[in-house]
């Protein structure tokens, strides 16, 4: 509520200074998502990020060459000074000078090559007005997910579409993250800046991230060799976006990812006994489940066990959102079968049809909407008959985007 009031006030103030016909909020957002594909630049950026011991201010020099090549040199604080990250769109190369260590890891530039996921139907995007950042005129956008996840404010360069400033806010943490470009210039960047660093004598370590290509939970269950617990319900606006095999130490775990278009929640599952909880953390209770909670910068990790399965959820999201994941991940196959049967009976469809949609990652509420187009009064939430076609289209777009299909373009609304 407070966020809405703040945004409304900002809209009044900033709206007064806007000149000329304003583009639609979605057009500005889409342009922001596509801007790195069209623009070369070098910039200095200041970030304020939470850490265990309090907020930390970071300074980073960034060079970008379209479509997907980055170089980042970390300037401050002292713990980061000298750290280098070069991303060629295929891999990232992290050099840590004080350790003389070179790490090859996954690329962080995928979003810049046309794989931006679409925003769900019920995410609200507002154009609040205009502002000036680093001497440049910007549009100020607010993106408010229906899930209760963080609200974002983005300052989008009017000329190039690049995001020059951003903030994240939620009810628990207030404004907990801020990033501002303090200096930027456009134009070709010398190619040699993007050469992979090869410091003589440095240790080289390679880390690979799992592919999240599993569209069906049964497919992922076969890959990991144990049955999975599909969350019965999710916070409003969250959709399943893919799964894969994750490696946790020596254990193979299932990794399911869910997105509300703004935040992503990673849900890990592995038979209990194969992994132990990280040390420390704060002990919470969600219903009868004992949960350990850990903070890691912007991210929060919850770990719990239920019916012989160990679960972990990670996200940049308020605790309330993650607690809903704890409540909804039920590892009892007989309960799942009973709910499938009951919903099929209530909707007058074959149980196999319900089970097939559950296998594609839909919650029971989403299945109800898809099959009946008429949610029950209790479970309806904001999903309405009008949403049904777009929900299906959205899932299909997700699948095309994740599969890297040609023509899968950045989306939003």
């Amino acid at each position: 509520m407070k966020a809405v009031a703040l945004l409304a006030a900002a809209a009044v103030v900033l709206g007064a200074s806007a000149s000329g016909p304003a583009p639609t909020p979605l057009a500005v957002l889409r342009r922001a998502a596509e801007a790195p594909l069209r623009t070369d630049y070098e910039a200095l950026q200041v970030l304020t990020v939470p850490r265990a011991e309090g907020a930390e201010t970071l300074r980073v020099a960034i060079w970008h060459r379209r479509p997907a090549t980055y170089r980042m040199e970390f300037l401050a604080p002292r713990r980061l000074a000298g750290r280098l990250l070069v991303d060629d769109g295929l891999s990232s190369w992290h050099y840590e000078p004080s350790l003389h260590l070179l790490v090859r890891g996954p690329s962080l530039a995928r979003a810049a090559v046309g794989k931006v996921l679409p925003l769900p139907e019920n995410t609200t995007v507002r154009l609040l007005g205009t502002d000036v950042v680093a001497g440049r005129a910007t549009y100020l956008l607010a993106v408010l997910p229906a899930s209760g996840g963080p609200t974002r404010r983005l300052w989008v360069d009017r000329s190039t579409g690049l995001v020059l400033k951003s903030e994240a806010w939620d009810a628990e943490r207030g404004v907990y993250y801020a990033s501002t470009v303090t200096r930027i210039s456009f134009g070709p960047v010398p190619e040699e800046l993007f050469r992979v660093p090869r410091p003589r004598g440095a240790r080289l370590v390679e880390l690979t991230a799992p592919s999240l290509g599993a569209r069906r939970l049964s497919e992922l269950a076969r890959a990991v060799g144990f049955p999975l617990a599909a969350p019965a319900d999710l916070p409003e606006g969250f959709r399943y976006r893919g799964g894969g095999v994750a490696v946790l130490g020596s254990a193979r775990a299932a990794l399911l990812q869910y997105s509300d278009g703004v935040s992503t929640v990673s849900l890990f599952q592995v038979p209990a006994g194969r992994v132990g909880s990280p040390p420390g953390g704060e002990v919470l209770r969600v219903g009868s489940t004992v949960v350990r909670s850990y903070g890691a910068g912007l991210l929060r990790l919850l770990v719990w066990e239920r019916r012989g399965m160990s679960f972990a959820a990670v996200a940049d999201a308020p605790l309330g959102v993650l607690r809903e994941f704890v409540s909804s991940a039920e590892a009892d196959p007989s309960l799942e079968a009973r709910r499938v049967s009951e919903l099929a009976h209530a909707l007058g469809v074959r149980p196999e049809r319900v089970a097939e949609l559950r296998d594609r990652g839909f919650t029971f509420r989403q299945v109800r909407v898809l099959l009946a187009g008429q949610p029950s009064e209790r479970a309806a939430g904001s999903l309405t008959r009008a949403v049904v076609p777009s929900l299906v289209e959205e899932m299909e777009r997700f699948e095309r985007v994740l599969a890297g299909a040609p023509g899968a373009s950045p989306g939003g609304r």
């Binding site: 990020v49 840590e96 530039a109 979003a111 370590v205 946790l248 020596s250 991210l299 996200a315």
Partner: protein, 159 residues
């Protein structure tokens, strides 16, 4: 008996529980005959383990564990990592040798403890597709998590 309790009981036998966990286990032992039987069995196995001589590890075990843990690694390895690997190798060899005997305790020996960054690293590596995520933030989050995952700390942080 569920697996969480099995691990907690095993930790209790080894004296590795917090005061709160100790109270939980002792309360549970007072009430549950199955737990008491499991406890007696674990104590017997612990004593048996302690009486056995250490077994030599296979000569290539260090390399195999490092490759499994870190992907493909090259170059010199820090001394403390080598030491940790040898400790792990002795524990692993003892566990394998006693596989038929050690039941609840084996779960804990086999259990992987990935740490907070074992989870966050994989999460960050897959959030680049979020439309609004900041590249610079991703860069910091990924590189911080990578160092934690590898058990490395920059010199400035060690001071």
């Amino acid at each position: 008996m569920n697996r969480a309790w099995e691990r907690l009981l095993s930790a209790y036998v080894d004296g590795e529980v917090t005061p709160e966990e100790r109270r939980q286990v002792e309360e549970w032992l007072r009430q549950d005959p199955e737990a008491q039987a499991e406890y007696r069995e674990l104590v017997r196995l612990r004593d048996l383990l302690r009486s056995l001589p250490p077994r030599p590890a296979p000569p290539d075990l260090e390399g195999r564990i490092l490759r499994a843990a870190l992907g493909r690694a090259t170059g010199p390895k820090p001394a403390r990592m080598r030491q940790a690997v040898w400790v792990g190798a002795v524990v692993a060899a003892a566990a394998v040798g006693l596989f038929p005997l050690v039941r609840g305790g084996l779960d804990r020996l086999r259990a992987s403890e990935p740490g907070v960054h074992g989870y966050t690293w994989q999460h960050v590596a897959h959030t680049a597709t979020d439309p609004l995520v900041d590249r610079a933030y991703l860069g910091v989050a990924l590189t911080d998590a990578t160092l934690e995952l590898l058990g490395e700390r920059p010199a400035e942080e060690q001071r």
